[in-house]
Every structure is written in structure tokens, then in C-alpha cells.
Amino acid sequence: MVAEAKKREIKEAHKRKKIMKERFKQEESIASAMVIWINEILPNWEVMRSTRRVRELWWQGLPPSVRGKVWSLAVGNELNITPELYEIFLSRAKERWKSFSETSSENDVEGVSVADREASLELIKLDISRTFPSLYIFQKGGPYHDVLHSILGAYTCYRPDVGYVQGMSFIAAVLILNLEEADAFIAFANLLNKPCQLAFFRVDHSMMLKYFATFEVFFEENLSKLFLHFKSYSLTPDIYLIDWIFTLYSKSLPLDLACRVWDVFCRDGEEFLFRTGLGILRLYEDILLQMDFIHIAQFLTKLPEDITSEKLFSCIAAIQMQNSTKKWTQVFSSVMKDIKEGDKNNSPALKS
């Protein structure tokens, strides 16, 4: 008995030592990666960003100290937003908040009913307190409460055509955690201006369906057994993808893991969001195959909290985003074409 216990103890100690060693190794590699990013890659961004070496390093995860900078560079600033422009929209938002608290009834000004706008401002306020509540930094009185409020408010003034959509507060919050206020706004506005994000945040149904259809092509090719299982329950991807894509996984995955997904999303674009989705399905394939409709839906909209980046990323890596001969973008454009032709023929199958 004593010998057994002793043996166990030694084994435990070995295990602990191994974990420590791994952690140390990890920290060391982050530190050395940081040096490479700061000294070599960032000063030569345009030349180096698509080299094989940088892409590989990028896949390993960005060191937190350069994360925001790399995200900003990768997302770009197609909209040419300057910090001054942000200040202008922010002051507009502030005026609006003030006028709402002073006069509750006002005439319709810009074609959007006052009630709707007020509801949207109200909703921002409510959602801010519900954004990463466990971190206690975005709630009223928390250090980032006002910044989150400002960015969302300024955005609704900048893009009244999109407005505030639930899920946005999570994206803005993740950016705020990695960037200065004005830079966070610039990245936020540009990120939301990407075709995929714009389709989702405008709740453009037909476009969303095209993304789902493209996703299903790769789903079937990579995980055919699970694909059939889902089909047998008529479980369509919108059930789980809406939440994942809208919030860029920031609500569904642990925050550090979500940031790693964002890293590669910034490198590879929208296709990586869908690849991550397939990675999650692959990771839990065995469990999901045992479940029925409601349990799958429940599981995927509330993923286990102990999901680790090593496991998830090895599953994502195993997902092929090359359908026989076509890549994501090619499959997507052929889906677009099919649907267009289908519309012409009045195909009822596509009308749902």
C-alpha cells in the first residue's frame, strides 16, 4: 500500500514537472516569437506578411504584446478612418445620448424612427453590462465601460445603415482589450465592413444562406458521417453558425482561444471562420454522433468550457478547405451563381 502511494506520488510529481516544463517552454517560445515580430516582421510588414515563415509563426498564435498591432495591420483601413473622424462621430453620439435623456419625444429626423433609435441606444446600454460579465471590466464603473459605450455609439452614428446589432459588443470588447480606443474603432468599423460580416450584421438572409451552403460543401467533404447525421435530423448550420460567426467565436470559446482564432482569421479571412466551425465539429464528432437534434443544438450553442487550443487547432488543421479542386472562394462564387440561376427558374428549394 505504502509503496503504491509512493509510486503514485512520484508519478504525480513527474506529471507536474512535465507540465511546468511545457509551460516554461511555451513562455519561452512566446518571448522569442515576440522578438521576431517586433524586430523583423513588423518593420517589414508588407514584404514579410505572406512569407511562409511568417504565416507559420502566425498560426502558432500572436504574442499578446503585438496582437493588436498585427490585427490592425491585417484588417487594414480601407475606409480611411482617422482618429479625428472617430472623435467627430463620438461627439455626435454623445449629443444624441444627451438629447435622448432631455427630450423623450422628438420628431423623426433621419428616416429612422426615434423609438427605434432610442431602443437601439437602450440596447447598447443593456448589452454593455452583459459583455464578458465575468471579467468585471465592461460593467458600469469598470475601467472599459465608457470606451465600449463610445465605440458602439460612434459606430451607430458612422453606419446608421447597419446600426447596432447584438453580438457587436463582444467584437468591440475583444478589440478594446488589445488596442487603443481610436485604433479599436478603426479596426471595428473595417472588420464589420468585410463582405461576410456585412452580410451577417445586416441580417441579409439570402447572403447568409449562401455562406451556409458553402460551409455545407466543406462540411460534407471533411466530415461526411457527421454531415449525414445532421442531415437526418434536418439540423441546418444556421442553428450554430449564427452565434459563432456573428460574434467571431468571442462568446462561444474561452477568450484566449477566441483570440487565437482571430489571429488566423486576420491572416486567412472569412474562410477561417468557417474552417474553425468545422474544426469544432471535428473535435466533438464522436460525441455529436451520439446525440439527437435538440442535444446537438444545445451542445453547439454552449460549448464545453474546457476546450483547449492545442486540441482545437489540431482539429482545425486537419480540415481541408480545398474541395476536390475548388477553394472556398471558388465554391462560394459557384454557390452564388447556382442560386442566381435557381432564382431564375423559380426553384422552390431555395426559398426558405
Binding site: V165, S232, S234, I242, D243, T247, K251, D292, T301
Partner: protein, 213 residues
């Protein structure tokens, strides 16, 4: 785009509890997810805004009968409206939730009813109007009578609740469960009275009566 056909219909498997799909509808932040969480897990906490749809299950023991709810908790924001519409297909029951401190959410609930009626045949779905947040009595904008009157005029069940204080939350779901179970029974022509607490004379009537206290 949402699935419709895959949900097992009531009475699908003999010996198993009947499965009913219940959708939670209503404006953002009225407490749909809180009601579900309180009912399913008897918990109340700050809940992240629902994006798309969240899902819960719960088995209800009605004494004589046993049924299982599949709860579809939809996103409340107006923008998600078109997406959520797809989720109430195939529903057996719907809770139209509003916040008693927000008149606009009450109007919105009425709008949801119209949408429901467009999508589903009247009488096919058990609908209950639920005024949530009675713990905020001093901020009340919608009176109990207003809610009750509207529910009666449309033949809906009606109750006020507080997910925070756990006031009448289980009662809401139980009333819906009883109604569903009664309808199933009458459908199958088993109208005879049973020894269970659920009898015809006791059940809250579907049309025109309010089961709230």
C-alpha cells in the same frame, strides 16, 4: 433555413414522454433567457445577449402525464426578427414575453403574435402572454389589466412573472404543459376524467380565460 422536420412529434415514441417544441419570443432584454434558465436550472444570473437561438430541455411531470419541453430561446433584437421567424415553425407552444416596465416590449409582443398567426394555424399552438419583471413594480408601464385584457381578446393564456424572484415561472411552463397535454388527450379522444390533479373541470380554459392570479 432552420430545421423543421427533424423535431420528433408528440407521441412519437410509445412509453416515452411526448416532446413539445416551445419557442420564447419577445423584444431584447425582456428576460426570455432568464425565464428559461430559472425554469430549467432554477438559476438567475447576468445572461449574455442571445445571438441566433439558445436551446434548453426539461421534462415536466404532470402527475398523470409526463412531457418534455424542447425550449427554443430566440434572440430578441428587432434585427434578428427575420431569422427568428424561421425558428417558430413546427412549434407546439409559444411564450410571448414582454417587460412590464417597457410599453414598447408589450407592443412588440403583439407584433410577434401577428407573425405567429401568419406562420402557424390558429389553434395549433398554445400561446401564452408573459409579463416579466414584476420585481420592478415601481417602474411598471404596463398594468396587469392591460396584459390580461389583450390576452383575453386574443384567447391567450396570461401570467405575470419575475425570473429574478422566481415568481410564477414554473407556473407558466406548467400551465402551458397542462394545456398541451389536455389538447393531446382530447385529440386522441381520451376525454374520460382521470384520477390525476389534471381534470377537465380544473384545467384553465384555452379561450377567453386567464389563468393568472
Amino acid at each position: 433555413m432552420a430545421q423543421v422536420n427533424g423535431v420528433p412529434r408528440p407521441g412519437a415514441a410509445p412509453g416515452q414522454p411526448c416532446i413539445f417544441k416551445l419557442v420564447l419570443l419577445g423584444s431584447g432584454s425582456v428576460g426570455k433567457s432568464s425565464l428559461a434558465l430559472r425554469y430549467v436550472k432554477n438559476d438567475f444570473k447576468s445572461i449574455l445577449p442571445t445571438v441566433g437561438c439558445a436551446f434548453f430541455t426539461k421534462v415536466v411531470d404532470l402527475g398523470a402525464a409526463c412531457l418534455k419541453f424542447e425550449i427554443w430561446d430566440t434572440a430578441g433584437q428587432e434585427k434578428y426578427h427575420s431569422v427568428c421567424r424561421l425558428y417558430f415553425r413546427g412549434a407546439n407552444a409559444a411564450l410571448l414575453v414582454y417587460d412590464i416596465t417597457r410599453k414598447d416590449s408589450f407592443c412588440k409582443a403583439q407584433q410577434w403574435l401577428k407573425d405567429l398567426e401568419e406562420e402557424l394555424h390558429p389553434g395549433e399552438v398554445v400561446v401564452m402572454l408573459v409579463g416579466n419583471k414584476t420585481d420592478l413594480e415601481e417602474e411598471r408601464e404596463v398594468t396587469f389589466e392591460e396584459g390580461k385584457e389583450f390576452a383575453e381578446s386574443k384567447g391567450l393564456l396570461f401570467m405575470e412573472t419575475s425570473a429574478k424572484c422566481n415568481y410564477q415561472v414554473a407556473d407558466v411552463f406548467n400551465a402551458v404543459a397542462r394545456e398541451l397535454s389536455w389538447r393531446e388527450e382530447s385529440k386522441e379522444g381520451q376525454r374520460q376524467r382521470r384520477d390525476a390533479p389534471l381534470t377537465l373541470s380544473e384545467r384553465p380554459s384555452w379561450r377567453g380565460r386567464c389563468c393568472a392570479h
